[in-house]
Symmetry: C2
Subunit: 204 residues, 2 copies
């Protein structure tokens, strides 16, 4: 019988050597996910993930600059597909976004994970860089809602789709971070209506 | 010569006894402010504030449930008056809000203080309650921008002014929390325009 530590390190070398990158990445993400689910965010560290995934810490750092970046990817890959839907109208897409995001935050542990990530990013430079990069990716993704609207002629050609995406995300984040998730579908529809149609009295 | 600790506690009793409540409150807020400025947020505790203000901790807890509530009041009382202006138009008021808030966050330490407060509120229940209460007060205050617009007939009577206020705040918070403060006045005007007029193609 081999010593546990030698066994461990041999198995680690073997599994890293045998796997192609996408598999290793998946194994790392699976391990990270399992740790969050079983131990909560408090137990989450690159060290713990490396141990569980039987990967070396350098392998993890090759793809993710730190634990917040890894946590963000775990968080993002479990976001339901219905958050980004092409319903054929901008208002429909925005309602789908709010519906999907608020349900995901409220019904799973995802809201807590995301709150933790935002908090980390306010104190730690590496976490801040990861959250900023994540926000810019989401800005581009949600921006497509508004770009499709412009392409259809539904939205004005001179709007700034990035600012619209920031307003969409900002509204949702603000409600999460102040513990006021929206559950009422009518409130979501009203928010979507105001975001898209604005607030002005309709013209004559 | 008296022992320092006895001297200290005598002076503390005297100053509390002699002051009327508003003065004590001011003294506490001044002490809290001075600690944030001189030692940063890391040195900020009810204990440190009590010592500097020569007040008892129970006196502080009488008015503020915890350090985040106290920090929020210090933060808020230094917000410049130009954040909430009645310019005569909703879009003008929203531009003034963005201009004032982003300048305040960017040019003073206030942005860092507020980021710290938001972070605290994601992990600590008392801090969360304080931030939520603060957000609801601000919602009411900023909501007046939109209520004035409705009263003038500028905005549609059936809008939800609270949701509009959340969108205003959410957009600004999101930019702060992802390290993307807006400095360009044209970007602020465009954001204000989209918030108020919406995104739709103008009708024929």
């Amino acid at each position: 019988m081999t010593e546990p530590s030698a066994d461990d390190s041999e198995e680690r070398r073997r599994s890293i050597g045998a796997r192609r990158n996408p598999d290793t990445q998946e194994a790392i993400l699976d391990a990270a996910q399992a740790i969050v689910e079983e131990e909560g965010i408090a137990g989450f560290s690159i060290e713990a993930v490396a141990k569980r995934a039987r990967a070396g810490k350098p392998t993890i750092y090759k793809w993710w600059p730190g634990r917040t970046a890894l946590l963000l990817e775990v968080y993002h890959r479990h976001k339901p597909a219905n958050v980004h839907m092409d319903t054929g109208s901008v208002e429909g897409d925005v309602v789908a976004f709010f519906t999907g995001v608020f349900a995901h935050w409220g019904n799973t542990g995802a809201g807590q994970v995301f709150r933790f990530i935002v908090a980390e990013a306010q104190r730690d430079e590496a976490a801040a860089a990861s959250l900023r990069a994540y926000a810019l990716e989401r800005r581009q993704q949600s921006g497509q809602i508004f770009e499709r609207g412009v392409a259809r002629g539904e939205l004005a050609a001179d709007i700034d789709t990035g600012l619209a995406a920031d307003m969409l995300a900002g509204f949702a984040w603000h409600r999460l971070l102040t513990g006021r998730l929206i559950a009422d579908p009518e409130e979501m529809r009203q928010a979507a209506r105001q975001l898209v149609r604005g607030l002005l009295t309709p013209g004559p």
